[in-house]
């Protein structure tokens, strides 16, 4: 047996059957007390809806937004970024894809770990000593250098992924800062495809796989922002 307030509450929620609804509506026409209850419950309900929805006027927190994206872990984020920066073009033609893949397979060299810092020119040292986190470029004696990524390694060193292009020769490198010296930790050399192909290394090439594997094993956390990179650079300066 419902009391009046239960009837009104259920009426507001559309939960009365047809007969109960008609009876209540008939009483509402006559009874001011019932109308007052309905009015109060209706106002309350509107306020509840408005109040609860206010949370949606604040931004979705970063941790929720990250969960709703495909890549979530810092390493996955790093790899996604790597794929984006290394995947320079989208290969559409199967014929081109086949020919270019064959060409690249023929020319790509195996990854080669170079002896320590002796191979780095002072100009390259100076370039790496500057912060920029991503896509910072320079040209040293006709050799084009582009920084692609900065990160902290598992051992706490500041490391940078950069590309060097000298004519048809290209190398993808990771150099890490040990005290005040940049030392090569990874290097992959390749030949660029002919210019008339207007193609670079496809995203699924050995190059990308090798770089991904190296970074995945080496990175600690997410890629660095310019500010974070600057802090690490500053910390490594001689006191």
């Amino acid at each position: 047996m419902k009391n009046d307030k239960e009837y009104v509450s259920a009426y507001l929620d559309g939960e009365l059957d047809k007969q109960e609804q008609q009876e209540l509506e008939s009483r509402l026409e006559k009874e001011a007390g019932l109308r007052k209850i309905l009015s109060e419950f209706t106002l309350q309900q509107n306020l509840l809806k408005i109040g609860a929805d206010i949370i949606n006027s604040s931004p979705v927190p970063d941790n929720i937004a990250a969960l709703l994206q495909e890549s979530t872990s810092p390493k996955q984020k790093a790899l996604t970024l790597l794929k984006r920066i290394l995947n320079i073009i989208d290969l559409k033609s199967p014929v081109v894809l086949t020919s270019v893949s064959a060409m690249l397979l023929g020319f790509l060299l195996l990854p080669q770990l170079l002896p320590q810092s002796s191979s780095l020119a002072p100009e390259l040292h100076a370039f790496l000593d500057q912060p920029g986190a991503i896509t910072r470029t320079t040209t040293i004696e006709g050799v084009y250098i582009e920084q692609r990524l900065a990160y902290r390694s598992q051992t706490g060193s500041l490391c940078k992924l950069y590309e060097v292009q000298d004519g048809e020769n290209q190398s993808t490198n990771v150099a890490c800062l040990h005290e005040t010296q940049w030392k090569i930790a990874f290097q992959y050399e390749s030949l660029l495809p002919p210019q008339d192909q207007e193609l670079y290394a496809p995203a699924n090439s050995s190059l990308v796989r090798e770089v991904e594997e190296f970074i995945q094993a080496d990175i600690d956390g997410s890629p660095l922002s310019t500010k974070q990179e600057q802090q690490l650079l500053h910390a490594s300066q001689p006191k």
Partner: protein, 163 residues
Amino acid sequence: MKAVREVLTRELPRLRRFAYSLTADGNDADDLAHSVIVKVLEKGLPDNEDPVPWLLTVCKNLWFDNMRREEVKQRHLSEMAITEEPQYKDPSGANIDAVKLIEKMQLLSEGQRAALSLTAIEGLGYAEAAQILGVPTGTIMSRVCRARIFLKEHYGDQQGNPQ
């Protein structure tokens, strides 16, 4: 997994709203919504079923679990504390009564709060709410009504006028 993320993205406003109506705290609500998303991404969604009741059920269950863990804290909630400025600020400042009312919901029992949230705020029918809360439909009807009366009698008419 892509489909699950699409559902979660689509239903995120509802999930946050429901979580906020349960917790009455913006940060706690987003923490709760985060936990729900983690759980759903881990377990997936049921096939061929409306995902909304399922999401709300997961949310309610996690909230009940949290409430049990924080039972002691809840006991110390006083009417004095929540009649002060609302903890969660409405950026526009235009709906302060509405925010206060949501915070006042903390003084309802868990069952009343969940029933009122599902029906009055989310617009679910009593039968659907009963299924989510695992109680008879008649219980939802009485809980919703008692919750409305409690809010009205103890905290004025939501326009600042005490009864």
